[in-house]
């Protein structure tokens, strides 16, 4: 008696409550994403604090790069054993067996940034395409993965350019830490030099949701391998009427035309589909659903005004790459191997590398241009190279003495070597290092040209290499370390004393 209206009432609120629950999940995901974003950005904070307040602050190494499974893969190929972090990336890979590509949807800071950018792209919402016109994700990301992993045996450079976590680290460091070191008219050039992949990713995001993550991301491809067997899964119950809203909402395009199915190598468990479903038919849970597919049974029925699709989950055959895809992978590997030597072919002049850097050729191939040393350098003297070191050297660190010298001789415990995640900068003795040689331009030097007792460079030199000889400045080549403090201190516009890289000195 009282039950019938009660039940009729119960159906409606239940559904709205369900929809609201989906929104709460979405909000929770946003908060988690922002939390991880803040966590990964945090190591920049002490640097900014030190540069703004001039008080001592400990230097933090990156909290993001040690988790990178792709970097682990590359370093294994590159055999940089002392700096390899094994546990964290392995844990991340193991977690894909439990939770699929949740990392991409909940943790990856680059994904977070892309999601934030996408919220600006209003046209994507308006122009939402019908489901049948959404193209499936390409296999290109697997090719990228193969190219990067194989190419890493020769050079980590390609990996550094394409690894999303390194890309994020690079962009964040350049934008934030360098912004606060100020006094840099060339800042925009640096940004362009080291952030081009990042900018391209943002552009792709404005075109299609998570285009990078779905089609190109090598880390995503690596995580996809385990995610095929994810325990966390998405299930659609019988209230689904096949309207396709979930597929349109899915930024990863993990929902094929059959809405009950999920491609777990794509799904990032962002819960957008659950929030979008007008029927509240989508839920998530743990189970062995990842190897199954939905099999329709007969035609859809109409019962009590509802369209119902009868069917069941059945075991699906394992997916193996086709012959064509294998050939593509081999081609990608060859491309990766060829890429590093090709980049090296572009001739370049020497630049001043930080102390302890590997030999130029090895350095360029080991450096992933993550900008960690640039971020941490206490004097702000390390800057990314533009074209000075050739194509392969774009973004690699060089010492720009006019911005700041190297203080290894006076008090720096070689922070750049301590933060380098790939061991491209190795620890050296504070007394036995040399990165360049200072040369005095006699036409510009106040002491040489005008007989002025300036001698700022002599005052700035901590190793006693800059000396005064009959009122003129001379450099003792045996003592000079090339730290560049003389060049930084010179009062002449553009400096009358220059540090030349060792190869040119």
């Amino acid at each position: 008696m009282a039950k019938a209206p009660g039940m009729a009432m119960a159906a409606e609120p239940r559904r709205t409550a369900r929809a609201r629950f989906g929104l709460t999940d979405k909000l929770a995901r946003k908060l988690v994403q922002l939390g991880f974003l803040g966590l990964f950005l945090y190591p920049i904070v002490p640097v900014v604090y030190r540069r703004l307040t001039f008080k001592p602050a400990p230097t933090l190494t990156s909290w993001l790069l040690p988790w990178d499974p792709l970097l682990l893969l590359g370093q294994v190929a590159h055999r940089n054993w002392p700096t390899v972090v094994v546990g964290a990336p392995l844990l991340l890979l193991a977690l894909t067996l439990l939770m699929g590509r949740s990392f991409c949807g909940w943790v990856c800071p680059l994904g977070t940034v892309l999601d934030l950018v996408r919220s600006l792209a209003f046209w994507q919402r308006r122009w939402a395409r019908p489901v049948r016109r959404l193209r499936r994700n390409s296999w290109a990301r697997y090719y990228v993965l193969v190219a990067v992993a194989v190419g890493a045996a020769v050079s980590l450079q390609v990996l550094g350019v394409l690894d999303p976590l390194v890309v994020f680290q690079r962009a964040a460091t350049t934008l934030m830490a360098d912004f606060f070191s100020l006094r840099q008219p060339e800042l925009r050039i640096y940004l362009a030099a080291v952030s081009f992949v990042f900018v391209a990713m943002l552009a792709l995001e404005l075109w299609q949701p998570r285009f990078w993550c779905r089609n190109l991301c090598p880390l995503g491809a690596l995580l996809s391998l385990g995610s095929r067997y994810s325990l966390l899964n998405r299930r659609v119950d019988e209230r689904c009427d096949g309207c396709g809203e979930c597929a349109r909402a899915c930024p990863m395009r993990a929902i094929p035309r059959e809405a009950h199915d999920t491609d777990y190598s794509d799904c990032s468990f962002c819960l957008d589909c659950a929030a979008a479903c007008p029927k509240g038919a989508i839920s998530f849970g743990f189970g062995a659903l990842a190897g199954r597919r939905w099999q329709r049974l007969g035609h859809s029925l109409k019962a009590a005004g509802k369209r119902v699709i009868p069917g069941r989950y059945v075991s699906a055959p394992a997916v193996w790459p086709s012959r064509r895809q294998v050939a593509g992978g081999i081609a990608a590997g060859v491309t990766g191997l060829a890429l590093a030597p090709l980049l090296d072919l572009a001739g370049h002049e020497a630049v001043i590398r930080p102390p302890g850097a590997l030999s130029e050729r090895e350095f360029v191939r080991a450096c992933i241009i993550c900008q960690e040393c640039v971020r941490a350098c206490p004097t702000g003297g390390l800057k990314p190279t533009l074209f000075g070191a050739g194509l392969a050297g774009i973004g690699t660190p060089q010492l720009v003495p006019r911005q700041g010298g190297c203080s290894l001789s006076s008090n720096c415990p070689q922070i750049c070597a301590q933060v380098c995640p790939v061991g491209a900068i190795r620890p050296v003795s504070p007394s036995g290092w040399k990165i360049g040689l200072a040369e005095v331009n006699h036409h510009l030097c106040l002491a040489w040209d005008q007989g002025v007792k300036c001698l700022v460079c002599v005052e700035a030199c901590v190793v006693g290499a800059a000396q005064v000889y009959h009122g003129r400045v001379t450099i003792d080549p045996n003592k000079c370390t090339g730290c560049g403090r003389c060049e930084g201190a010179c009062p002449v516009a553009g400096s009358a004393i220059h540090v030349k890289p060792l190869a040119h000195a």
């Binding site: 008080k55 964290a88 119950d237 038919a281 005052e459 010179c490």
Partner: protein, 476 residues
């Protein structure tokens, strides 16, 4: 023996405090105020103490005859104090301002009623401001007293920290960039340290003003004239100059290959105690006094001092100044100018006060009356190091503590997470196996029937809901 009793009183006060004893300070000032009414106020006052006197006591004795800090700082004013904070060496090397002296001055200025106290200096040398403030002990003092701090670091600081100042009487420089806060202050106090310098030979009050500049290095193009210029009448002129000569870094030898004494270098280990503080409004006279007494050098010999003198910035003749009462000489604990305030005895390091007085001191004494006629060459070092601890080690150790810390979690992320990864991977594989076996037979039979069943009974919406929740249970 009024002086002796007063000294006893002071010693009692000194026993209690590294910081300034305010009640004693007030008493002294009241006493001196009476004295100042009696005679013309001096432009420069030298106060000499003994080893047991704290910097606060010597400073107080130096400022007393000038009318105390209150003569310069009116209540409600903004005061900029520029200590020497450029070198990362510990206090006993006399490379930077003594922290105790700075504390005493800040407290005095605060007692005089200053509204804001801003400390500033431009450290242009490695290892930079942070380490310099930490090592020299100045940073902790300023943090403790909660004064404002503007310490640009090695030209790395933002541009908006600076502004330009016009030097209408400047010869080489008519406009220079300076720290903005220095111009915002009503009163600037120049708290200098007596040291020797590579280019100008000696650096005291006049050269110390360079710390206000945005680009101190740029002044080196015409250093001596530039130093004179920044001391001319302008918005950045200091109202009170204080020269700290409690410990003085002495020059050590000359570099013969460098063509004579123009490249005099100093060694922070060679420090000599003079226990003096010179304060006043005439920086040229203060520098001249320092030249004669601490280094035995004719001030005319130093280009920047003589240029400043020629620009009319002050008196360079120490003898004339002390005869006219422009320069007065006090012993800490004695309220009246000492009878030994004549030039000869002015420059005599009294044996009681400074047992380690060197022959160079007395040489300077004899030279003083005929100072313009026979310039004395720069003395070679004779002072002993103040301590057996190597200075460089001390400084570097302190520095490494400040900047050297790199916090790296990779050890944990590497080692501890390998078993975690193994556990997680194992868990994933086992669970998948278990769950797969559990619900496969059930699912194969039950799944479709549930789907169709629910579809068939969908007329009842509550049934559909139940079916859905049951389906959940199965799926898990």
């Amino acid at each position: 023996m009024p002086g002796l009793s007063r000294r006893k009183f002071l010693l009692g006060a000194a026993g209690a405090a590294a910081s300034l004893d305010l009640s004693q300070h007030g008493g002294q000032r009241a006493h001196v105020a009476g004295l100042v009414r009696a005679e013309a106020r001096p432009a420069v006052v030298v106060a000499r103490g003994k080893d047991e006197h704290s910097p606060a006591q010597i400073l107080e004795a130096a400022l007393g005859p000038l009318g105390g800090v209150a003569a310069f700082v009116k209540p409600g004013q903004v005061v900029a104090i520029k200590p020497n904070a450029t070198w990362a060496y510990p206090p006993h090397t006399a490379s930077s301002t003594d922290p105790d002296l700075l504390r005493a001055l800040i407290l005095m200025v605060r007692e005089a009623g200053a509204k804001r106290i801003i400390l500033m200096d431009h450290c242009t040398l490695d290892p930079g401001t942070a380490e310099c403030l930490a090592t020299s002990g100045l940073g902790p003092v300023m943090d403790e007293l909660k004064v404002e701090q503007v310490f640009p670091d090695r030209y790395l600081s933002p541009e908006d920290l600076f502004t330009t100042v016009k030097l209408p009487k400047g010869v080489a420089f008519q406009e220079l960039g300076v720290i903005k806060a220095a111009l915002e202050a009503d009163v600037r106090i120049n708290l200098a340290v007596a040291k020797s310098h590579l280019v100008t030979k000696l650096t005291m009050c006049l050269k110390h003003m360079m710390g206000f500049l945005q680009y101190p290095g740029a002044l080196h193009a015409q250093l001596e004239q530039g130093i004179a210029d920044i001391n001319t009448e302008s918005a950045m002129q200091a109202q009170l100059h204080i020269l700290e000569a409690i410990r003085v870094r002495m020059p050590v030898g000359t570099r013969t290959q460098a063509g004579g004494d123009e490249t005099e270098i100093t060694d922070p280990q060679r420090v000599k105690r003079f226990n003096e503080i010179v304060a006043g409004t005439d920086p040229v006279l203060i520098d001249a006094y320092g030249c004669v007494n601490y280094y035995g050098v004719d001030p005319q010999e130093l280009a920047h001092v003589s240029l400043a003198y020629e620009a009319g910035l002050g008196e360079i003749d120490v003898q004339k100044a002390s005869e006219s009462g422009r320069l007065q000489y006090y012993i800490v604990g004695q309220a009246t100018p000492t009878p030994t305030a004549t030039p000869t005895s002015t420059s005599t390091p009294t044996p009681a006060a400074s047992p380690s007085a060197t022959p160079t001191g007395t040489q300077a004494v004899t030279a003083t009356p005929t100072v313009t006629a026979t310039p004395t060459p720069l003395p070679t070092a004779t002072a002993e190091p103040p301590t057996s601890v190597p200075v460089a080690t001390v400084a570097v150790a302190a520095n490494r503590k400040g900047e050297g810390e790199v916090l790296n979690p990779n050890g944990i992320l590497n080692g501890a997470l390998i078993p975690a990864a193994a556990v997680v991977a194992g868990l994933g594989i086992v669970l998948r196996h278990q769950l797969g076996r559990q619900d496969r037979p059930q699912n194969d039979d039950d799944g479709p029937s549930r789907g169709t069943g629910a579809g068939g009974n969908a007329g009842d919406s509550s049934q559909g809901d139940d079916g859905e929740s049951a389906g959940h249970g199965d799926g898990r």
